[in-house]
């Protein structure tokens, strides 16, 4: 019994220590003025993290918008309220689905790749040798990746929403025959730019920080063996998914739950 309590206590201390390491880590790497060379490194990571994730995010967004429209139509048509379809599609996408699903896809596509890449650099002693040459790997390797993640995910989320709303339009208006004017009109009447688009962006920014942080830290902190890399990659996806879904509830409660 006592042994169990002691073990629990030690696990707790380990957790706190890891959290502290992660905090110091992000503090040391994300702060500071980027040099000219830093911009080039950031650009390269923007390509890797952002541009290469664009295809999967846009395709998913299109299908989610289409499904949303189809499901929404079958429900709304029972109440004779199918002209509210645009409003339903836009609000669900902007408030919930776009930030959350884009963040989950981002964790799977870019987050795991970041962990594996940094982990491999650690396993092949590239980080150590950089330090021996006298370059801080936090600045050179970690910082550009962090900032690329922070900027990419909100942009991807915007793309997701736009494509999703268009997908809803395709199914609702072009296929099921909802009147085009009421699709856009109801949407415009009910979507508030700050309240809905803005809050969605805030959500996605929070998710971007959390997912990128988890991915890069897992890569930097892993055990440098092939087994360690595969474990850390899995951990990145699991932890970021849980963090995104949990934080989404908290943020939704604060933004739309009338708690304010």
């Amino acid at each position: 019994m006592i042994a169990r309590v002691m073990r629990l206590g030690r696990r707790g201390c380990d957790l706190l220590e890891a959290l502290g390491r992660a905090g110091i880590f992000v503090g040391q790497s994300a702060v500071g003025v980027p040099s000219r060379e830093g911009w080039a490194l950031w650009l390269r990571q923007m390509h890797f993290v952002g541009v290469l994730s664009l295809a999967i995010v846009l395709v998913s967004g299109l299908f989610i918008g289409m499904v949303l429209s189809l499901q929404g139509y079958t429900i709304l048509v029972d109440f004779g309220a199918e002209q509210a379809l645009g409003q339903m599609v836009a609000l669900s996408l902007l408030r919930e689905l776009a930030p959350v699903v884009a963040a989950l896809l981002f964790a799977g596509r870019a987050g795991s790749a970041l962990t594996a890449e940094i982990g491999l650099m650690k396993a092949t002693e590239q980080l150590t040798s950089m330090e021996m040459i006298g370059v801080d790997p936090l600045r050179r390797v970690v910082a550009p990746r962090l900032w690329a993640g922070f900027v990419s995910l909100p942009l991807l989320t915007i793309g997701f929403s736009v494509v999703g709303i268009y997908g809803g339009y395709l199914v609702g208006v072009e296929w099921l025959g909802v009147f085009e004017g009421s699709y856009w009109g109801n949407m415009q009447a009910s979507v508030a730019f700050i309240g809905d688009v803005g809050n969605g962006m805030v959500k996605s920014l929070v998710f971007a920080v959390v997912v990128t942080w988890i991915a890069v830290f897992q890569g930097y902190d892993l055990v440098p063996t092939s087994e360690g890399i595969s474990r850390a990659t899995t951990r990145t996806v699991v932890y970021s998914s849980l963090a995104v879904l949990g934080l989404d509830f908290v943020l939704t409660a604060v933004m739309f739950g009338g708690l304010s």
């Binding site: 092949t124 002693e125 590239q126 150590t128 040798s129 950089m130 021996m132 040459i133 006298g134 370059v135």
Partner: protein
């Protein structure tokens, strides 16, 4: 001159978790010579290099390089000291996103403001020294293990260091590239007047180039001397290691219960 040691290690203690890796290691590494540090695998030879390079801090004892105590230095002074050191990693540790040329140019670009033309000349000189000037446009993934290590050597000497640390330079090399590396290390040492520390357990190759040898085992220096004196050392542990005998004071068998009892205890589980 060669009697004032370049690197001094005194009373070094270091442990990782609950296992003690070093229990009081003392070494004096002479200037301008090749010093080999040998020992069975798992004795923490790489850890020793990391302690010398200042990447790890000892629990007790100190490391002095050219009169400067490594672990007392500020971060800035440590980075300045590291400019005077080169390190060759076991895996080469080339930056996988840069070409061979950019890898060798990396330390130059970071630490100097030389114009591009001069960087180019210097890089080509270093690559010529390791015989890979023609491979400058290749990416690290396209190199063989031996070539990668030679590129890494070119990068390690890019800033003309005074001290080079070699971490297992001969591991996993075919006989030809092993011979090439042995020659390179020896030639570089003579041509540039470097102080070299070679960590290795490849006895034959190491003994041919080393001027002085330390053998570490069980967290302590077990023996030290010139290669000739170690060859005739009477200590059974030393002679077992130097002559590569399979069994001796360092047992071949992992500790286990008696062989016969183990065989006969069938049915008693594993």
């Amino acid at each position: 001159m060669s009697d004032t040691p370049f690197v001094v290690v005194e009373g070094l203690h270091f442990s990782r978790g609950d296992t003690e890796i070093f229990r009081g290691v003392d070494m004096r590494i002479p200037r301008g010579r090749i010093t080999a540090i040998m020992g069975p695998s798992g004795t923490g030879k790489t850890t020793l290099l990391k302690l010398i390079g200042g990447q790890l801090s000892p629990d007790a004892g100190r490391v002095t390089i050219d009169g400067e105590e490594v672990h007392r230095l500020s971060r800035k002074a440590l980075f300045a000291l590291r400019r005077r050191m080169g390190m060759l990693f076991q895996s080469g540790a080339l930056f996988s996103d840069l070409s061979v040329f950019e890898n060798v140019a990396f330390p130059l670009r970071v630490h100097t403001d030389l114009p591009d033309a001069m960087v180019r000349d210097l890089v080509l000189m270093k690559l010529e020294a390791v015989g890979l000037r023609g491979a400058r446009e290749l990416m690290p993934a396209e190199l063989s293990g031996g070539m990668a290590r030679r590129v890494a050597l070119a990068r390690a000497i890019a800033l003309d260091p005074e001290l080079i640390l070699y971490d297992e330079p001969f591991v996993g090399q075919d006989p030809i590239s092993m011979g090439v590396l042995v020659q390179l290390i020896k030639r570089l040492n003579q041509a540039l007047g470097l102080t070299s520390i070679v960590v290795s357990h490849d006895i034959k190759e190491t003994l041919t180039i080393a001027d002085y040898v330390y053998v570490i085992a069980d967290g302590q220096v077990m023996a030290h001397g010139t290669p000739e004196s170690l060859d005739v050392d009477q200590d059974p542990r030393v002679s077992q290691f130097v002559h590569g005998e399979p069994d001796g004071p360092v047992p071949f068998h992992y500790p286990a219960v008696d062989y016969f009892k183990d065989i006969l205890s069938a049915g008693g589980g594993r």
